[in-house]
Structure formats: structure tokens, C-alpha cells
Amino acid sequence: MAHFDENAKPFSHKWMNERLAVDTLKRVLSTEYWIPKNINFLWAMGMVLAATFGILLISGIFLLMYYQPNVNLAFDSVNYTIMSEVGYGWLWRHIHGVGASIVFLIIYIHMFTGIYYGSYKRGRELIWLSGMLLFVLFSAEAFSGYMLPWGQMSYWAGMVITNLFSGGGLHADFLVEWIRGDYVPGQAFLNRFFMLHVLLVPLAIIGVIVLHFGTLRIPHVNNQDGEEFDFEEAAEQYKAGNVKESKVIPFNPVFLSKDVFVMGIYFILFFYLVFYHFEFAMDPVNFDPANGLKTPTHIYPEWYFLWSYEILRPFSTNIGLIAFAIAQVIFFTLPFLDRSPNVAPASRRGLFKYWFWALLIDMIVLTFMGKLPPQGIWSTVGLVAALTFMALWIALPIITAKEKKL
């Protein structure tokens, strides 16, 4: 037992300190959590993501109060009850819908920032791996949520994505039926995806967010130059008052003030979309109620899955499935495929500079093609882009192994 002061008043500073070590927590988590000074606004994307996740959680709880996970009621509970009968239900729904879409934009910016500055390398591998795990969980969360309004695209996306588990030539239809709980998406399917969306996946996300933050604590965040320095020495310098010379700043309040400013700009964009342009995040096809007897003309996923969908599509079933499976996990291997000793921005790193921009542009091309009907020139472009994607990952260890030490 630690020493407790008999005279400390309940909930006084001292009383709290003895029980919860509030001073230590504050120091470790904020005022002496050291952040490199030399970072730009892209490093604020983590906080932007945390804020967006919070917004999604809160708006989701409000929607959950009125949503009905029943194949006959789901569509109207979303499109009528929440939109017309619940005070500001439309606002919560638009916030949730726009948030679900925009969160992926920020995730991709966050990911490509990490790739560009080499923030996944040497000592920071676990940050990258836990981040990629978060990406997978967010994908599961987005997909399960997309099912819930039970519109045409919900139903058919559910059909197409669960069909992937039949494994093409493996004909593992039993697996698909087990996942769906039925031969086609139905009540059992809706119930379990509802559970996944509101409980299991968010719970896992919260857990992995904590892990992701934890992985940052020891290696510290990277900086714009990939410079390695002694954080403790720099921190001592800062604490001694050499603020200008020190390479670090405390998270709170110095970097936090920048985070909050970046979030402000982000929220202006976010709420502009919520009030004036929410339709970009809501596929019109999903405003037709689910109809198992009528296939939509084009079936495509939301924009953030299009690139991996397009890696699946241009090949024959089995090869497509294998390519798709590789695309899902390949980003996890980035820290191990990159053989270069350098932690530096892509611009200073030989061929990797071209690799980075080629990957980015290739994924944008794949995204475009994933939405277009697979006809004529578009399917050829899609095939070339999918092959390029594979080739880029095969080339990565080779070009990075040749990289000279900076």
C-alpha cells in the first residue's frame, strides 16, 4: 500500500493524485509527451481521425435509437422515421453518412503520409501494423454499416462481397451460407451485420486505437526529414527554456494548438459537405428499397473500396480472388518489403520517389476504373492498372535494396 494522506479532502488534487496519479498521467500523456517540432499539418490527421471517429460514434448512437434491424422496417426507419419524424434526425444521418465516407479520405491521407515520410520504418513497424489493422477494421465497420439501410446497393453489395467467400473454384458455398445465415442476404444476415456494426467492430476499433497510440509512445512520431535524434536530450533542452533550439515541443499545449487549428479547417469542410453536398456520400441506388429479384444495372462498392475491387475484377474468377486477397494484405508487409536503411521523405530516396507517386497514381486510376462499367477501353486500363499494382509491390524490395545510405 502506498502512503495516503489522512487529511486530504475527497477529490482534492492531492487525494486524486494519490489514487489516480493525475499529475503523472498529465505529464506522460500531454505536457511531456514530446513531439518533434519539424512536422507539418499532415501529422494532425491522427487527431482529425480521432475526432471523426468520435463524431461517428455519437451520431451513430443517435441513429441507433430509432433504427430497426428488420428487413421490412429497416429502409423506412432510416429514410422516413429518422429523416422526417425524429428532431434533427436528418442532421445525425447526414453527419454519419458524410463522416463514414470522409473518414476514409483522411485514413488514406494518413497512410500515404506515413509511406511518403518512411514513418513505417525502423522502430515504427508496430505503428504501421496497428494502423493497417485499424484500416481493416474500419473497412469492416463501413461495409457492415452500408448494409443497414437495406437499400438496393446494400443488398447487392452484401450479395457480391459475401459471394467472394465461396473462393471461386473452391466452391465453398457452405461458407457463404454460414456467413449469411441463409442462402441470400436476409433477416439473419441483417441482424448479425447490425451487431457487428454497433458492437463488436467498434469495440475492436477502440481497442486498436489505444494500441495504435501506445505504439507511438516509445519510438515517437517521425518528422519531416526522417531525422533521428535524442528525444530525452531535446526534452531537457526544452524544459531548460531553450525552446527555440530544442527539436521537440510538448504535445499539450503546443502541438495540440496546431491540431485544433487543423481540425477547425477540417470541420468547415466537413459541415459544408453535411449541409450542402451530402449526396456524394450517399449512393442514389441505395434509395431504392432492397429487391432480391431486381439486380441494379451496375454494382460497385463505395469509392474507398474501388481500387481493391478493380484488382479483383479484370481477371478470371480464381486469379482475381488471389489478386484481391493479396491487395488486402500487401500493405501490412510494407515495413518488411522496404529494404532501404533510410528513414527519409520519398523525395530524397532514389527510385522510391518514383515508386511512391506511381503507387498513388495507380491506385487513383484503379479507383476510377472500379466504378466504371467494365467495357471496352476501361477494362483494358483496369487490367493494366491492376498488373501495375502487383508489379510495383514486386519491384519494391528490389529498388529499395539498391538504395544508397543517405
Binding site: 517540432k37 507539418n40 499539418f41 499532415l42 423506412d76 429514410n79 422516413y80 429523416m83 422526417s84 436528418w90 442532421l91 479520405l105 491521407i109 525552446v243 527555440k244 515541443i249 499545449p253 503546443v254 494548438s257 496546431k258 485544433v260 487549428f261 481540425m263 477547425g264 479547417i265 470541420f267 468547415i268 459541415f271 459544408y272 453535411v274 449541409f275 450542402y276 449526396e279 456524394f280 450517399m282 442514389p284 441506388v285 434509395f287 431504392d288 444495372t297 451496375h298 469509392w303 474501388l306 498513388l360 487513383i364 479507383t367 476510377f368 466504378k371 466504371l372 462499367p373 476501361w378
Partner: protein, 301 residues
Amino acid sequence: MKELKIFGIVAVFTLILYWGVEPFAHSQMHKHVEGDNLQYSDLKPVAAKGDAAKGEALAAACVGCHSIKVKNMPAPMDAVASAQAYGVNPPDLSLAGAMLDEKFFAHFLLNPAEVTKSKHFAMPPSAGSEQDAADIVAYFKSIAPKEATAKEGYEFACGRCHANRYDKWTQIGDVPKTKSNIKTGVDLAALDFKKNLGVYQNKLADYMGKLPPDLSIIIRARSEHFLHTFIEDPQSQLPGTAMPRVGLNKEGMEKVFTYLEETGDPSAPKRKAVGPWVLAFFFIFTFLAYGWKKAMWKGHH
């Protein structure tokens, strides 16, 4: 400034991405159909000048099937019986003169199946000559009320085939307010209504090939351009559809759209009211945050 340059790069890639998955993809996925601004240019102009008084006499034949509420003429049969006889309930004609294009209306009276582009149209040709047709049109224009609600317009143009459940509208009228028996919990009046609606919808589905879709949120499910060109000429967007060309004029189209927007996008006025305040809040928030950042980073560079 370096950060602005980085922001510019992020913004450019984001906009390219947006352009590709939204405007560009949609332009490729949906063929573009040009409307003709409700001119119905495939129909010849009607030379004859209508005489409302003569038209009134000719219109007496209409009430064999149709009601004309503004003239206190009831329908000979109720909606369900009409559907059993014709497949669909004929519309009340009070608004016909206000909602329909004059030229379309005249040609419609002469040859309904051809101008509606619907092979199995229930109504037979109902005017002997172009002059008769022009007279009838003139009569209906003279009796049409100046003020009609958007819902009345919808009822005339769409409401006998298409329900709108978010407005509690069915093909046989508004869902009545009924109460269940307090002892048994059974609402017989509601069940009766449901049964009548079911009979009507079955007849309608037989007549049209399938039950026409509910239009509650069609405004969100289809683009405005699609709906305009589709209502103007259903075959242009959906070749082979059983939906007849309705022949609305500009005012008629506006009424239908007003109604569809009210039921399909009821939050539009609230969005306009609340949006500027929320954005103003975040502009101020960002301005203050910038000031805080400036103060915090002072002496750091």
C-alpha cells in the same frame, strides 16, 4: 510557404479523385438523354381554335368514367370498381386543363394509345375531330381552378398508379385515420382499407405488368434530370416501360416536383436554415484556434 504547397498537393489529388468517382463515372454510366422542354415536338400543332361552350357539351361524355369535382360531378364508380373495370382508376378531370400541355391534350383525345406511347392504354379515342378535341381542351382549361396544391397535381398526374407511403398516400387515396376496437385490438376499418387497396393494386399490377414503384423518395433515388426527361417521355430513359407519357405542361411538372421534393427531401428548408450558423461557428472556431496556435508557437522558431 511549404505547408500551403503540401496542402495544395493533397487538395489537387482529392479533387481529381472526386471528379473520377462522381461526375466522370456518372457521365459514363448513364447515357445522356436530351429532353425537349415539354414541347412535345413529335405532335403536330392543333390548328383548330377551341370553344369552351361547345366543349362543355362534348365533355358530358367524359363523366361516364371520370369525375369532375370542380363541377360537382361524381365518378360513376369508386376507385376499386373502376380498376376492376379498366385496370386503373380514371383521374378526376378538374385539373386536366391546368396540368396538361394543350397540344398533347388535344392529340390525346384523338388517339390516346399513340400519344402516350403506351400500347394498352385503357381510354379509347374520345374526340371525333380536331375541332372537337380543341373544344374539349378549351372547356377543361376554363374550369381548372387557379389554385391547386402540389399534392392535387401529383394525384392527377401520378397518384392513381404510384403510392407515396411517406405521405400516407395510396393509389386509392389517403390512408384513413382509423382506430382499433379497444377490447379486441382489431382495426376492422384499417383492414377493409388494406383489402380494397390490395384488390386495386392487384388489378393495377395486371394492367401495368407490375405494381408501379412507390415514389416517396424517388427524388433522391434518381437525378432531377432523369426524372424530368422520364416524365416528359418515359420511353426515352426506359425503353419498353409500361408507364404512359403523361403530357404535363410546365406548371404541371412544377407541381409534381414540388410534391416529390416535399416528401422525399423534407429536411431541405431546415438544412438551409441551420447550415450557415454551423459553418459560421466553425469559421470563428478556426479563427480563434489560429490565434491560440500563434500564441503557443511564439518563440519556437
